[in-house]
Symmetry: T
Subunit: 144 residues, 12 copies
């Protein structure tokens, strides 16, 4: 089993950016945590980050070539991208939406996720652990 973990705009700044919201963990730290967990479950993971909406759309499309699930932290595009939504809806691979922070405890415009209705499920608010839980959810989906 192989899981694709996609990270949207500004997540490359993690650990440097607004630490009072996102903490000091970097994206590399998260990747390590996820890889460690994955090893224990005999799952392969691939980690990518992009600031480009179109590139993320392309990655979601190509997930059908070899991946069993997508973990997606779309960052700001969560709230503005109909294109990502369409790519997810068109994908035969289940997508799981994850967020580091509890998006419902932040600004009004972050409460509405355009991609949530076409994802399998959503996990938000547990910091880096949101990714670990998402990985587990992905495996469980597959095991059914």
């Amino acid at each position: 089993m192989k899981v694709l973990v996609l990270n949207g705009p500004n997540l490359n700044l993690l650990g440097k950016r607004e630490p009072e919201i996102y903490g000091h963990t970097t994206l590399a730290d998260i990747e390590s945590m996820v890889r460690e967990k994955a090893k224990g479950m005999a799952v392969e993971v691939e980690f990518r980050q992009s600031n480009h909406e179109g590139e993320l759309v392309g990655w979601v499309q190509s997930a059908r070539d070899g991946f069993s699930a997508v973990l997606l932290n779309a960052g700001a595009y969560t709230h503005t991208s109909v294109a990502l939504r369409d790519a997810i809806a068109a994908s035969p691979v289940p997508t799981i939406e994850v967020h580091l922070s509890n998006i419902y405890a932040r600004e009004e415009f972050r409460h509405k996720s355009l991609i949530a209705p076409v994802c399998k499920g959503q996990i938000s608010g547990f910091g880096a652990h949101s990714y670990v839980l998402g990985l587990e959810a992905a495996c469980n989906l597959n095991a059914r």
Copy 2:
């Protein structure tokens, strides 16, 4: 460590009610799954269900007496109860919001959770497995 699992209105019907949305699993089945997982993590769990908003408010209040976390599937009260929200906000015990179905893929009025902004995080859409993930999230919070 002890976790309180609270279930709101109509969840006692699980397995009998609208199976195309919630599946055939009963609340007792979920309780078993959660207990099994908990045993493996050396955690104690207590499971309750009520159709009464006031009773749920009372249970959230009393969680401070001996519990380390609350897993809350507030059902329909998710969308209408400011009283539950106030009880959660007033509680020193972290509350984790769980949903069986992906609430963002259902009717418009279920997209807005009144309790989300005061919960630690939200997990929705993974069926009974949402509870298991919630339990894990709760333990992870405690372990920090």
Copy 3:
């Protein structure tokens, strides 16, 4: 055939409360009218009232044990209870919504019924006679 007639909050005050809107008929008077009508149609009826949302939810759930239809005047909960809506949607027993007054001729916030979309039909504005018409509608549904 057995029909369950449920009455929501403040309906116990009927006849005493704002008579310019609801008239001088009491809930007991309505019960008599319905029983008389029911007798003529060889139908058994059970009459209940509660101010508690959770108790009404429970009664709707338990209607599946022996009742062929539910007549529901949910009073104020008509406009605020997603929990009642869920209970009705989950019930295999058809529910008929009745109102004494024409709710569309009253305050703005009473124009929206949360339960209407999951009820079989709605009868409003004919005073106590709304119940009698509701009973007849229930029997007709069953006769089909």
Copy 4:
């Protein structure tokens, strides 16, 4: 006693149009059912249908000449006609709003009835039986 039964646009198509919503009963079938019921109550009925808003307005106006009540299924004009609303409000004859389908279980724009606030009451969702219940409600109003 004489009751005027008015039917709005597209109801002439009944039985042919979208049978999954309205069933296979034709307007003529409904007229028969109403006439039979009326005979049993010694009531005279007159049945009319029009696709023209202005013609329906005129019929509501002229009901004062000899009719004791109007049963009105305004069809699509229910949601768009202030002119019908004004005609009903100006009429000394009580008007009862009927609908074959449960308008609250359909598209959003059918949830708002412009005429409901000036009608005596509303009956919706019982198919052709909605007319029979409406006739009975009309007679009961008169008998008071």
Copy 5:
């Protein structure tokens, strides 16, 4: 000079309908008042009433054949007819909107006039005298 006075739905009921809003004056009384005023100003008037939106549209269109101005009390169509609005906008003849009652002191949905932006001006709230003022305004426009 010749002025066309058009009256919309239900205005044929004037004097009989809701006298607490419109008074006891009939449409014939208004016609007399307007004719008398017109005589003093050497103006010819033509008076028409219809409950049909399409007929009013046709009359507005045909005003270009011989009329210098249109006085229009569109009644309920004031608030719902884009077709009348288009006809007025397309007409080379200036249209003056008149209302018997002060439409801004009535129900919310009567506060919005769809035709006001394409009329020359609006006079509302002076009872039958609104028509007389409208006639005068029409002549004054012409005299410029």
Copy 6:
């Protein structure tokens, strides 16, 4: 009979300000037209202008001392002043709202008049002639 004509903010600029909307007529020109008309009807008029909301409120209040009617062109305060609205509602003297331009054919925020519901009637869109028609309306009210 004595009529008070009140003019709100910026009307002192008339003739100089945005002539494509208001024309080249000055406030003094309007005063002359109104005075001439008034003489013919044996009515006395008093003309005032202020840019101060509070001063206009005071003038509306004091109208009860000797005036039979108020003609009010509240200018921009038409759309923002609850204070003027309260003063008009509290006054035993009928107030007639006049506007030079057709306020419904201009910017969206000018379509809503806060004072319209408490005025006797409204005349808008006839340029300076709006005042003359308003004066006539005032006299007619008095003559009833």
Copy 7:
């Protein structure tokens, strides 16, 4: 193959009305263009225009008697008629919505078409050529 071309209110004025929006082409000109095109495709067309909503509703209903498609320029009723929408939804004959002007480049209230969701497709903004394209689309639908 036979196509019914229906034209709504004010389209009889075409060529005379607001030429800066609709151009100088008359409805007869459009009919000629469509007939010429139809001849080349061996299609028969029938052209009608009405200012009456009810008449248009009737024509849409009767299209099932011998027509393969309806081209509908509903004019102002596009934005206000639920009755037309219902007639189209009830019709077994595919309806194609056409507009001379680009309705999305005009006033806000013309951006919403009530009939679009029940039509097969929409063509707007190409002047008289919109009809020709619509005819071609109709034939293509049939050819599938």
Copy 8:
């Protein structure tokens, strides 16, 4: 004279819950303050608290048996309960709405009180002293 003081959900937590908003005073402290004040005015008070909407509805209903006024701090139900509103409107006993905090300086959803329109008056923002002022207001009402 006897006054009923009702306290809604979560008020039992007072002094423990979010002290930065409500302070350290407990509900028992408030009861003492009110009793002391009441003694000085020779008034009898009865103090109750419930987390159940239905129980509060019942208490408001029963106030007619022996109480001259109700002081109501409905807590979260202030913003969600139409049932409480109906009970207050139906009650012959005047109800005074009190709040510890200034509800207008808090979250948006707390700015709207469903019960305010049917209460006699509202006092909010003075901490425990809001109750004392409410008691005084109640006595003053009675003394008139």
Copy 9:
């Protein structure tokens, strides 16, 4: 201790204006009641009224020179004045909002107070007694 009592537009009309809402008490009567109460509490009061928004803004600003609290009945400016709100927010002196009538039981546009979020608290609906309660609240604030 010295308290400044400020009264907004139209309050000088009290006793004469819409007595069915405000009663027959004049502003002078209220001043007497407040002075009498103040004497008993050894507090000095200063009473002012203005129809000018700017003058009220200036008075709120100058309260810092010698006053311990401001009682403010801003009348109509309650609902429109951001300037008053800013002055209150900038003032080191606590401001208490008072209203004679229950503003939540009146017209929709009076339900929203722009100044409430920056006042200490609000008292509304107790007639002239609202001022007396406000004075008491002011003293209590000071005594803390």
Copy 10:
């Protein structure tokens, strides 16, 4: 004559993606159909697809170098891209908006096209044939 055909995000998936909405035709199939049609009209076409908003913006900008028209199926960017809108508005080359599906018969958020007001016209709902009609419309524009 040369026409540029631009395709937005996810259109590369055509034929594989949600076939119940878009059918089994691939983008290559559409290109063939358009090329065949173009050959018959002696028109040259260039076909491009991109998932990147910025790339599409650049292509619209560069159309001025040699193209007579742009056919644009902007996919999801139709509903979110002000940048595309600006590029179209700034372009001297006419743009025609095409859609495979009837966007008005789909989710609410797809009903609003940000680019429609600056395009020449819109064709939606005819599947791949929408492109063919668009090409024809483009040529007709040019022929004028």
Copy 11:
């Protein structure tokens, strides 16, 4: 060249009022900074402040007598005054809107400026330096 600098309500409090938003600079300090800058550019400035909407309206009107530009910090009237907007629109003198704080980073109701659409441009968020930049912008406008 002569520039008029106008300051709205509460700006006289600058330096004393909410320093966490506006800083410790007083209006006199700003005047000094602006005068110094003006001297270097050989520009004359006149500085005024008023809490009265009407006075500000008057000053904007009179700017045409000798001033080349107006710098306007309308304070709270920015968000409520249609009168100021009208005065600016009517003025031949260009007006530049300045704000000390970034109004878009503050409360929701401060995000909407009623005067922005009729000003030449807007500068906000640079503290006292906003005025200096505004002065420079004014001179640059004049120099064109």
Copy 12:
């Protein structure tokens, strides 16, 4: 000191695109003006333009490497990009928002800037001079 000047989508078209809004100045002309001004202030500037949202996000992120301020004219992304907003909020380098045209005097959807709340300040409406003023504001920020 070094300032990064970023230009969003379509700004490469400047001078060619809609000159009635933006004038004939090209982006190169603006760069020259800014460079000249910068030289006089001994500031270094770097000028970039992109049509890609993701590229602009990346540039804002990298400003922390050597730049003291960012001048950002985000063009259309001003109104749609949450990703840019997040990048600005996360940046330790102050960002100043500039616009050539007065965005508040244009279409409704351009009145809302998503990035304004996280920028230091905003300058709009002064054509190319907006950049010069922005540069000056940036230096002044740094000098503090």
